[in-house]
Symmetry: C2
Subunit: 158 residues, 2 copies
Amino acid sequence: MPGKHPYSERYFEDYTAGEIVEFGDESVDEARIVNFAREYDPQAFHIDPVAAARSPFGGLVASGWQTAALMMRMMVDHFVSSHSLGSPGIDELRFLAPVRPGDRLRCRLTVLSTSPSKTKADRGSITQKVEVLNQAGVAVLSCIGRGFYRRRPETPKS
Amino acid sequence: MPGKHPYSERYFEDYTAGEIVEFGDESVDEARIVNFAREYDPQAFHIDPVAAARSPFGGLVASGWQTAALMMRMMVDHFVSSHSLGSPGIDELRFLAPVRPGDRLRCRLTVLSTSPSKTKADRGSITQKVEVLNQAGVAVLSCIGRGFYRRRPETPKS
């Protein structure tokens, strides 16, 4: 179970359009790249360093789906609150630059908009742009995500 | 390394808009769901069957990123050719229905369009809709993906 973090108790009302947050530190080495790719994306340039050296990538690179999964891990560890109700999906997922063994990744998240649900009174949705940056500050992945969050319960009036 | 499949030697020219292909068979059990989620998406409803039973999902569900990764595995095993040059990204990734322990997944892929590169003479891009279906035929995930493929080398004229 992930530990508590500063956003753990946020409700829908606690997110504000324009807010920018940076968080996370995930290291990627050859074993981690190959382990993921053997199960989920066994293309030569993800699992075989020798073949990868001869590929257009010039060396082993992580599956874009692993980079996306690492983004999710950083989101869960540092941003997603316990009042999250999941996500309907992701738009504009872009694999911008290779992730290579030795890279260290972090996230930069921008809240784009917040919107109360029109059909469910207990929740609202947050739309956010997330960029995954490497140790050189180069964006290796970006996407627009949407998440549902519970609204803050009303406090009984005294 | 993935084995050969009927699409292994396809070049850009071999893909046709309107073509529909079904392929893949990936089983998901509790251990596979929990193993992925512990590393990449450790939210309670992905890693803790007891907490998941009390969540809005009513039981353990796979991370949407794992379902996407399983889609990629089925693509690599059955569709992506050895002349693939990677993907710039994905649009309209939608998590449509929960994936639960015991589910068996397959893909239905529709080629939406094909387009020669305007800047690189050696390649073209294929745009495809992919749906992941469970054993009941329910779509659990869908997305629009784009992939680059090498063009067929010209045969020398005699």
